[in-house]
């Protein structure tokens, strides 16, 4: 609270990002958690909320005739241009936001303040809602080849891995610990996905410390053990997701990649995904394209090309497709790594899993996948998302790229996924918002040290509760165990307007097929439920059914839901505010009213 210099500024203008339309006039409130703009110039009350932690940059531009411009851009690609009449107010808001958007330590993040009025049991159960260990059981572990070990229970083997790891049965403790010494940060080869149908597995690790000539017998044994766990195949792939040049450069620093001569029966392959710095810069360029005011079609397409963004998305997708093909068609196991094995490796392994296994194309399955491949395997969310003030060079849109690849798949297979675009956007939003504890911390050990499971809430029960919004009405379960074989021709990669221009409603289709389908299917489901209820009532009256409480009308998935009946909806997710602001802002939330009017965009006279 001490950082808020001016809690309320009146007569603030909110400019439209693209058109020269009349700016909205309203009041700006600065609360402990949000920046809120309440429009006073229109009849319907329109509010714009921006969570402080979502703010990526806040810039005060030179004074103009209109006033003092304040330019805010958020990590969820929401951009707002305010003009504040008094330069002093602007200065104060700017200063406060700079401080509030960059918390010095993790404990200041929203998740530690957020309280959706749940009791302690519900909160605790919420954390158990998704269990990645269960997923290995689902894949059929333990079996004659693979087992789960607790060798890492005190994080002594590898500090950034989960405590439970899938390891080939034939790998001895000595082999595992020996291999850990030869892998960057001890990130040994461990199971990511086991493909029951072919016995082939996807494993992940970090780069070997091979340097120019070093070898490690245990590491070689470890790979042997993985290879043996798929007895029908005579070889396994080792995929280095880096460009070859980068990998070679690492050799000089004592790291590097596997020498095919030292490992028996491996087929080594580079796939050439660029590093986090290239990706960060590429996104920056993409956002500059999005910010262009009335660009021509050529400006836009040239800008899109020069950003390189879609090239990178395709590189990630290509690698995922390569893995899935190796497992499903060649029936060969694959070991994947990049440098540390927590960025590109996470992207590629999770994409391959989605291509191979329809479970991950369900609402719950995606939660499991993210929990398993990203959260528990040590993707550095705190650093990559820039949750707290830190090295800007550690920030990179690695997770965003994964979500975008997924969106691209959904565009190619409109019936193949149980979830819809909103689900992806919501997850992406929560990765950055820090409203929930899941995406705070860089690895499991850090989260335990922070006592996140005691002090914050899990996002998964919250999303599950709202799953009706995230359904894809066109989803066809009949695709069965089908492996997706997407086309990765360049022309299949599109700019994702729904993500990067999500808050520019004028650019989105003015009517949504998805919303329409959700509404009519919902109505149908309600109608059917009513029908069943009536039938049950009739049956009871006729004495056919004795017990009214039988679960006849309940869909099976609801019975499997753990006893979390989370009651919070989007409205309950309101921030903590100081008294004055609460009074002003707690009137009905109608953030989209007014913006749905059909208006032309950028038609010049």
């Amino acid at each position: 609270m001490e950082h808020i210099l001016t809690p309320k500024v009146e007569e603030v203008k909110l400019l439209d990002r693209y058109t020269a339309k009349k700016p909205a006039i309203g009041t700006l409130y600065l609360t402990a958690t949000h920046l809120i703009f309440v429009e006073t110039s229109c009849n319907t009350r329109k509010e714009t909320w921006m969570l402080h932690h979502l703010i990526a940059t806040v810039e005060k531009l030179p004074l103009t005739a209109m006033g003092c411009p304040l330019h805010i851009s958020c990590k969820n690609f929401h951009v707002a241009h305010f003009v504040i009449s008094s330069e002093r107010d602007c200065q104060n808001v700017h200063q406060s936001l700079v401080r509030l958007s960059q918390p010095g330590k993790v404990e200041e993040l929203y998740a530690f303040l957020y309280n959706p009025k749940q009791d302690e049991d519900e909160r605790r159960n919420g954390w158990g809602f998704i269990d990645s260990a269960m997923d290995f059981k689902r894949m059929g572990l333990p079996n004659e080849f693979w087992e789960m070990t607790d060798l890492n229970k005190n994080y002594e083997l590898c500090s950034t891995y989960h405590s439970e790891l899938g390891i080939p049965k034939t790998a001895s403790k000595g082999t595992v610990f020996g291999s850990a010494k030869f892998r960057s940060r001890g990130r040994i080869p461990t199971l990511s996905y086991y493909h029951k149908e072919s016995n082939a597995a996807i494993c992940r690790c970090s780069q070997p410390l091979s340097g120019l000539s070093a070898r490690c017998v245990e590491d070689e044994e470890m790979l042997q053990a993985i290879s043996r766990a798929n007895p029908k195949s005579t070889f396994m792939y080792v995929v280095d997701t880096r460009p070859k040049l980068n990998a070679m450069a690492n050799r000089a620093a004592g790291k590097g990649y596997e020498n095919e001569d030292n490992y028996s029966n491996i087929c080594f392959q580079f796939v050439g995904i660029e590093n986090i710095h290239v990706m960060r810069n590429s996104l920056q360029k993409l956002l500059e394209v999005c910010a262009m005011k009335s660009p021509t079609m050529s400006d836009y397409l040239t800008g899109l090309e020069n950003s390189g963004w879609l090239r990178h998305i395709k590189a990630v997708m290509d690698a995922g497709v390569f893995l899935a093909k190796a497992v499903a068609e060649d029936k060969a196991s694959v070991l994947v790594h990049c440098s540390d094995g927590w960025d590109r490796t996470a992207q590629v392994c999770s994409l391959a899993s989605i291509l191979l296994d329809p479970f991950y194309r369900t609402i719950k399955g995606l939660m499991v996948l993210i929990e398993k491949e990203w959260i528990s395997m040590g993707h550095k969310f705190t650093q990559r998302c820039g949750h707290v003030d830190g090295d800007p060079k550690e920030v990179s849109p690695v997770f965003t790229q994964f979500i975008e690849c997924l969106w691209n798949l959904m565009e190619q297979y409109p019936c193949g996924f149980e979830y819809n675009e909103k689900y992806l956007l919501e997850i992406h939003n929560h990765v950055y918002s820090c409203q929930f504890g899941n995406f705070i911390g860089n690895c499991q050990r850090e989260r335990e040290e922070m006592r996140l499971y005691e002090r914050t809430f899990s996002v998964w029960p919250f999303l599950w509760e709202n799953r009706h919004q995230y359904r894809n009405p066109l989803h066809k379960c009949s695709l069965g165990r089908e492996v997706l074989r997407p086309s990765t021709l360049p022309l299949n990669f599109k700019f994702w307007c729904g993500m990067y221009n999500h808050f520019d409603k004028g650019m989105q289709p003015k009517q949504s097929i998805l919303d329409h389908l959700l509404t009519i299917t919902q109505k149908k489901a309600e109608g059917e439920k009513k029908m069943t209820d009536l039938q049950i009532q009739l049956a009871v009256m006729d004495g056919v059914l004795a017990d009214q409480g039988s679960p006849t009308g309940t869909p099976p998935e609801q019975t499997s839901l753990s006893p979390v009946s989370v009651s919070h909806t989007a409205e309950n997710a309101k921030p903590l505010m100081n008294g004055a602001a609460v009074e002003e802002a707690e009137i009905e939330l109608v953030p989209t009213a007014g913006s749905e009017k059909m208006e032309p965009v950028a038609i010049e006279n």
Binding site: S294, M297, T302, P490, F495, M507, Q511, I603
Partner: protein, 546 residues
């Protein structure tokens, strides 16, 4: 005409047909006057593939005569068939499909290629297939066309006190590319119209094409005035335009050429409405490409879509370089501007470029879709196409003689109509509930306009169609599409009529490549088609339940 003299080889056995989404098929190929017939008998089932020759845009052949080599390879070649000469014909179609035929026998291959080359580019209208197409379900006695100018006029009672139907063009003598009846201001008599026609290129004097019920404003269209280098004036033309804005004070002229192009047009006898002569009209210039530029744009785009190299940069650069999306962008932006003048500013608008048969029609029909809910139903949309394209004299035969693959020298080809369909698709993508028709309809029209069993898109004007007997001797596509059996497939299951104008976003991010058309023959389209089917079933199911 005897087609048979151009068919040297009518039948070939053991031909292999390769086409998208199907495994190669072996069977018999047969050439007829209008079709390629391919039949394959596999056990009990037999399959027939029929390809309209008119649909073939380009043909490439390669022949191999390995006969001479066989002695060289005698030791290894023994197991091969004795006749090793063969040829391959690649057929690139106007609907963008590419097929391949492997034909045994060099001579046969060359004969067939020659027949296809000749028969696919017939240019005598009465030789074309629609004059021979006689399906059992249709009768030539059925009504041809959906409506007439008289019916259109009669339906719009609210405009009848200020506007009249003129038959000055009943024998097509005043304007050969106009229909026999057009709507003009009440106060302008036929004699005046004759004089105005002389002052407009091709006699295309300003006529009403849309009446906006909400405020009584209208959209007019014409060709350029023939002011020439000497800034000639025409009193009657000025009178006519004055009568259009009678009472409302001001009108807009949207010139689909740049200011510079309009100035240059004066050198060749054309021109524009100058401020001094038309003081109540405000001119706005928006440059829309036409003719060769547009045709080349389509060729480049299709080439880019067929380039399956693996670089995203190269794809984006080719997409940009084709400029197709820029044309889509400009067309929608100009139509938006026109609609805005009418609906927001409350002024009448005259739109023209030079001939007034291409960009003019594109802009005026898109503006009508934005403004008028009646044009967004299946019937209404086809009615709009009939009024604004067929009767208004878009020269279909010239514009659609060739498509994107042809190697023939470009003459009058231009994919203006395809551009219209693309823009309509963009509108429908942004307002998926507002259109009564579906994407399959747009795709069907994009195909039919180049090669068709129906006579609808034959010829360049109403006059030509009447002279060639199109209306008596061919079937009408639009009538067919509205038959109950077809209607279902071409309606939008999500349709919810709205009275509001539908303003499209014209930010580049909001416009997309029309994958349904340009990637029609890739795997991508298959999944999308399945999804559309799924969507239709889902909606029907939900309707049934409620």
């Amino acid at each position: 005409m005897e087609f048979s003299e151009h068919i040297k080889t009518a039948n070939v056995e053991d031909v292999v047909l390769r086409r998208p989404f199907h495994p190669p098929m072996q069977g018999t190929l047969c050439v007829t006057g209008h079709h390629l017939l391919f039949s394959n008998r596999d056990g009990d089932s037999s399959r027939l593939v029929l390809l309209l020759l008119r649909n073939i845009d380009a043909i490439e052949k390669s022949v191999e005569n390995l006969l001479g080599y066989s002695s060289l390879f005698s030791s290894t070649g023994q197991s091969q068939r004795p006749s090793v000469s063969s040829g391959t014909i690649t057929l690139k179609c106007k609907d963008l499909c590419v097929l391949q035929l492997d034909i045994p026998g060099m001579e046969e291959c060359l004969n067939i290629a020659r027949s296809i080359e000749y028969l696919s580019s017939l240019d005598i209208v009465s030789d074309m297939y629609p004059f021979f197409y006689r399906p059992l379900k249709l009768s030539l006695q059925d009504q041809w066309g959906l409506s007439s100018p008289e019916q259109n006029y009669a339906q719009m009672e609210e405009l009848q006190d200020r506007w009249r139907l003129s038959h000055v063009n009943k024998d097509y003598s005043v304007c050969p590319s106009y229909p026999p009846a057009v709507i003009v201001p009440h106060s302008i008599d036929d004699e005046t119209l004759v004089k105005v026609a002389k002052f407009r290129q091709g006699g295309r004097f300003p006529v009403l094409c849309y009446y906006h019920r909400k405020n009584g404003m209208v959209i007019m269209r014409s060709s350029q005035p023939l002011t020439g280098a000497n800034r000639k004036r025409c009193r009657e033309d000025e009178l006519l335009l004055q009568a259009v804005i009678d009472g409302s004070g001001l009108g807009y002229i949207i010139d689909t050429r740049s200011n510079q192009q309009a100035q240059q047009a004066r050198m060749t006898g054309g021109g524009f409405e100058s401020k001094s002569s038309y003081s109540c009209w405000k001119r706005l210039h928006r440059q829309l490409e036409r003719g060769k530029v547009l045709q080349e744009s389509l060729i480049k785009l299709v080439e880019a879509c067929g380039d399956h190299s693996h670089s995203v940069d190269r794809w984006l650069s080719k997409l940009e370089n084709s400029k197709w999306l820029s044309h889509v962008h400009t067309a929608l932006a100009t139509a938006g501007l026109l609609a805005e003048c009418v609906e927001r500013d409350g002024h009448s608008v005259l739109v023209h470029g030079s001939e007034g048969t291409d960009a003019t029609l594109l802009v005026s029909s898109l503006a009508q879709l934005i403004l008028d809910p009646n044009t967004r139903t299946l019937d209404g949309f086809l009615g709009l196409l009939e009024r604004e394209w067929l009767l208004a004299g878009h020269p279909f035969q010239h514009r659609c003689a060739h498509s994107a693959y042809s190697h023939a020298r470009l003459r009058l080809e231009a994919p203006v109509f395809v551009l219209l369909l693309d823009c309509v698709w963009q509108l429908a993508r942004q307002f998926p509930l507002a259109m009564g028709f579906s994407e399959p309809l747009l795709l069907r029209l994009a195909r039919e306009v180049y090669a068709s069993d129906y006579g609808t898109f034959l010829c360049n004007s109403d006059q030509e169609r009447c002279a060639a007997g199109v209306k008596e001797r061919t079937h009408c596509l639009f009538q067919f599409l509205l038959k109950p059996s077809e209607r279902e497939h071409y309606s939008n299951p999500l349709y919810e009529p709205t009275e509001l104008a539908i303003w499209p976003s014209i930010q580049p991010q909001s416009l997309q490549l029309w994958r349904g058309l340009f990637l029609r023959w890739t795997q991508h389209a298959v999944h999308l088609e399945k999804a559309q089917e799924e969507l239709r079933n889902l909606v029907i199911e939900c309707r049934g339940a409620s």
